[in-house]
């Protein structure tokens, strides 16, 4: 048959999600005792990292503001929330979950604007998981006596919660949903660069008619967070973020009777055996390190691949990375969005430079980077060894380090040879090998033939410098109850 026509490329037209669904104010105050109030501190600007456009000004909570928020939370705890039956608390949580679903488009667009993540992720991953978390913990609120913590587990009191910028609304849900279900009240500080969805969540609390003071949102930078965790009126501190800040918080609460849970950094091994399902493995590697621009504490940033198949796997991976679409986070076809801040971009650039200096071989996907905003193309380093900094330090960006191993034992040794221990991935068609490897991983979450999958029923947390305490599932309740 004559080959009639030369194929033309299939170019996807821009398919931007509308911004009109989001009603942005030019400035935002603090959410204390059920009301938005002006802070007494300075102000911060929240920037769209894809365009460098200033989205809004937000208040920087001062120590005095923090004090008001903690006192409001205490009042709400003593007078209302701790006295309320679990079934009643559940109603509020169910209501919040439903409002999150109803306003999901608005939340997703705002998250992508403020964070830079692709709309397909905020729409299909972040926001649905937020709703799922509230639904899940709403279900626990009237069943705490059946959760395995004794007949009448008591809440702790006021929880101070400090969350990161990579999953702003999802980390809020991971913190607030179990705390409220268990009967605590909270003061939450969102990250300095991504406060806007937390403030929209404050509106949702108003809409749900949550009693004033049960949830308080105080925006600000590092000093605001430090003041919050140090406040003597706080019974519990929960932090997700860098190991460095986690250590500082740990020092700050040492010697007090505050409970502490920390979810910190990671340098997860994603381990590929020679019998792995190759096409799905490639997808899993992509999901492991390029999901959310690699701004994921449990990212599969260290690819440990069996030497006999390394070359073939890496070449397939590179071909796949060539199809990733980087650009406007609001475009529904974007796979890779913007790096969240200039500061983070510089850190990624620096560590990638270290990789070059150490002699690893850098490969970068061929894609045009927009002129404005903060961008970093998907990057793979091959020829990485355990001694390289890019195999040890968390880059928190779209940068994969590829190492090889020869035997399962070597894979286990190398995977565990890290200061972190948040997650790991195993790719093999052999079930018995999955079980052996999973048992040997010193990591809180082990995925088999998948990666970066989350579910509210599953506990999540780290070993070693990845922190302590568990979030999610029944285990997540323990962090907010007076139990051990």
């Amino acid at each position: 048959m004559a080959r009639a026509s030369k194929p033309k490329p299939f170019e996807y037209a821009p398919a931007p999600e509308s911004r009109a669904v989001v009603d942005l104010a030019s400035s935002y105050g603090l959410f204390i005792d059920g009301e938005f109030v002006d802070g007494t501190g300075g102000a911060l600007k929240s920037v769209n990292p894809a365009t460098e456009e200033v989205l809004a000004e937000v208040a920087e909570a001062s120590e005095a503001d923090i004090d008001l928020a903690v006192k409001a939370a205490r009042r709400a705890y003593t007078r209302v929330w701790s006295k309320m039956s679990g079934a009643e608390r559940a109603k509020y949580l169910f209501r919040i979950a439903r409002i999150v679903q109803e306003r999901s488009r608005e939340l997703a667009v705002l998250e992508s604007l403020d964070n830079g993540k692709p709309i397909k992720e905020s729409r299909d991953v972040d926001v649905p998981l937020v709703a799922a978390h509230f639904f899940y913990y709403a279900g626990w609120a009237d069943k705490l006596e059946h959760a395995g913590f004794g007949p009448d587990p008591r809440p702790l009191g006021v929880a101070a919660q400090v969350i990161p910028w990579n999953f702003p609304l999802l980390m809020l849900a991971w913190k607030i949903a179990p705390a409220l279900a268990a009967g605590n009240t909270v003061v939450l500080k969102p990250a300095e660069t991504t406060p806007l969805t937390a403030l929209l969540f404050a509106e949702i609390c108003q809409q749900a008619e949550l009693p004033p003071g049960v949830v308080n949102i105080v925006t600000g930078a590092g000093p605001t967070g430090a003041a919050l965790v140090a406040h003597p009126g706080v019974d519990k501190v929960a932090f997700t973020g860098s190991t460095e800040v986690g250590k500082a918080i740990s020092r700050a609460v040492a010697g007090t009777d505050k409970r502490l849970t920390l979810e910190l950094g990671g340098k997860a091994a994603n381990i590929v055996f020679d019998d792995a399902p190759v096409d799905q493995t490639v997808e899993g590697i992509v999901a492991g390190i390029f999901f959310n621009q690699g701004h994921v504490c449990c990212a599969g940033s260290r690819l440990l691949v069996q030497e006999s198949v390394a070359e073939e796997l890496v070449s397939r991976l590179k071909r796949r990375l060539g199809t990733l679409r980087l650009g406007d986070p609001l475009d529904k076809n974007t796979d890779i969005g913007a790096i969240n801040s200039l500061e983070q971009l510089e850190r990624i650039r620096h560590l990638a430079g270290v990789g070059d200096d150490e002699g690893a071989e850098r490969w970068t996907a061929d894609c045009d980077l927009p002129a404005k905003g903060y961008w970093f193309a998907p990057t793979v380093f091959t020829g990485v060894s355990q001694a390289h900094r890019i195999a040890r330090e968390e880059i928190f960006g779209p940068v994969l380090s590829v190492l090889t191993f020869r035997t399962p034992s070597e894979a286990i040794e190398k995977a565990n040879n890290t200061a972190y221990g948040l997650s790991a991935g195993i790719w093999t068609e052999k079930g018995s090998r999955i079980l052996r490897m999973a048992g040997a991983m010193r990591a809180g979450v082990v995925w088999a033939n998948t990666f970066n999958r989350f579910d509210p029923t599953s506990p999540f947390g780290g070993y070693k410098e990845s922190g302590y305490g568990r979030e999610g599932g029944r285990h997540g309740l323990a962090a907010y109850l007076d139990v051990h």
Binding site: M1, A4, Y12, A13, D275, P277, K332
Partner: protein, 326 residues
């Protein structure tokens, strides 16, 4: 990942080695990389969220029309029905000459001569379903005679079914040899009919089987691999098509040769068709984005594409009375 079967096939001597015995062929096919079903389903689902709008949609609609094998495979098919289908294939929209013709019409053997006469020099191919379609339950002699009949009547393309019974009972060599024999008939007497090999993936059940059958068909000389007869549910699905496209891609890596792909059955809407095109685009790439290498086996799909095309040019939805019932 394998003891690289690919490199074995790339070497003609190696291929002979692989097809030397049932045991050797089984070792080879079972040495192909496994397919994780959850992962394959997830990848297909993720690609189906691509948003194809405006110019991209217009491009996709016309491409999809050009890729259609407009199909009627009913016991009740008559000369009148096939004439009307051929007219539709040549000129899908009587009011709009800018709509391209479809790739082919696909009919049973006895109507091939009629379809050839109707389509004349239009460039629209005639495909015949062969080898005791759809079940494939006949002797090899009957299957070859069936194919020869279609080829002599002038069929441009033969859509054959594999012997699923032989495949599922592990007689891979028998399947391979049967395909190769049919392929030979396609070029008898100076004919050059293209061979599409239907795997009937709904009966193969697992993606591992789909990948093995794809390789088997390509090793036997298939010009196209095709999902389904349309008579078994499920027919074409996105994940099955994904797995088969990956096999086409790996085959080219191994041998340098391209093999075409045809999902068939259950593709009814413009949205469905666009999802298949996205799958092609992001799995095997632009080289396959032509009727020469990708077909859609469908019947009702064409009218939905025409309605969407009218909507794009007029800005309004018309209705089922503005496309022809054939």
């Amino acid at each position: 990942m394998t003891p690289s079967p690919a490199s074995v096939v790339a070497d003609p001597a190696g291929l002979a080695d692989v097809t030397r015995s049932d045991a050797a062929l089984r070792r080879f096919l079972h040495g192909l990389p496994g397919v994780d079903q959850v992962g394959a389903d997830a990848r297909a689902a993720a690609l189906s969220t691509r948003s194809i709008k405006t110019t991209a949609k217009a491009f996709a609609i016309d491409l999809a029309v050009r890729m259609i094998d407009l199909t009627t495979l009913e016991g009740a098919d008559t000369p009148g029905k096939v004439r009307s289908l051929c007219a539709k294939a040549r000129r899908p929209d009587p009011h709009d000459a800018s709509v391209p013709a479809t790739a082919a019409v696909c009919v049973y053997n006895d109507l091939v001569g009629l379809a050839k006469a109707e389509l004349g020099g239009s460039g629209v191919k005639v495909a015949a379903v062969s080898t005791a379609f759809p079940s494939g339950r006949a002797s090899l002699a009957v299957k070859l005679a069936d194919t020869r009949d279609a080829v002599t009547q002038g069929a441009d393309e033969i859509d054959m079914v594999i012997d699923r019974g032989a495949f599922l009972s592990g007689r891979y060599l028998e399947v391979l040899e049967e395909i190769a024999a049919v392929k030979q008939v396609c070029s008898e007497g100076g004919a050059d009919a293209h061979l599409k090999v239907i795997l009937e993936t709904g009966e193969l059940a697992t993606y591992d089987n789909v990948r093995r059958a794809s390789w088997l068909a390509m090793m036997a000389g298939a010009d196209f691999i095709k999902t389904s007869t349309g008579k078994i549910s499920p027919a074409a699905t996105l994940p099955v098509t994904l797995v088969m496209l990956e096999a086409c891609r790996d085959w080219r890596d191994a041998t340098g040769a391209m093999v075409g792909m045809k999902p068939a059955g259950g593709i009814r809407t413009t949205k469905d068709a666009m999802r298949y095109l996205v799958l092609v685009n992001e799995t095997v790439g632009t080289d396959w984005l032509t009727p020469d290498w990708f077909r859609l086996g469908a019947s009702s799909l064409l009218n939905d594409l025409l309605l969407q095309r009218q909507r794009m040019s007029t800005g309004r939805y018309s209705g089922p009375d503005y496309v022809t019932v054939d």
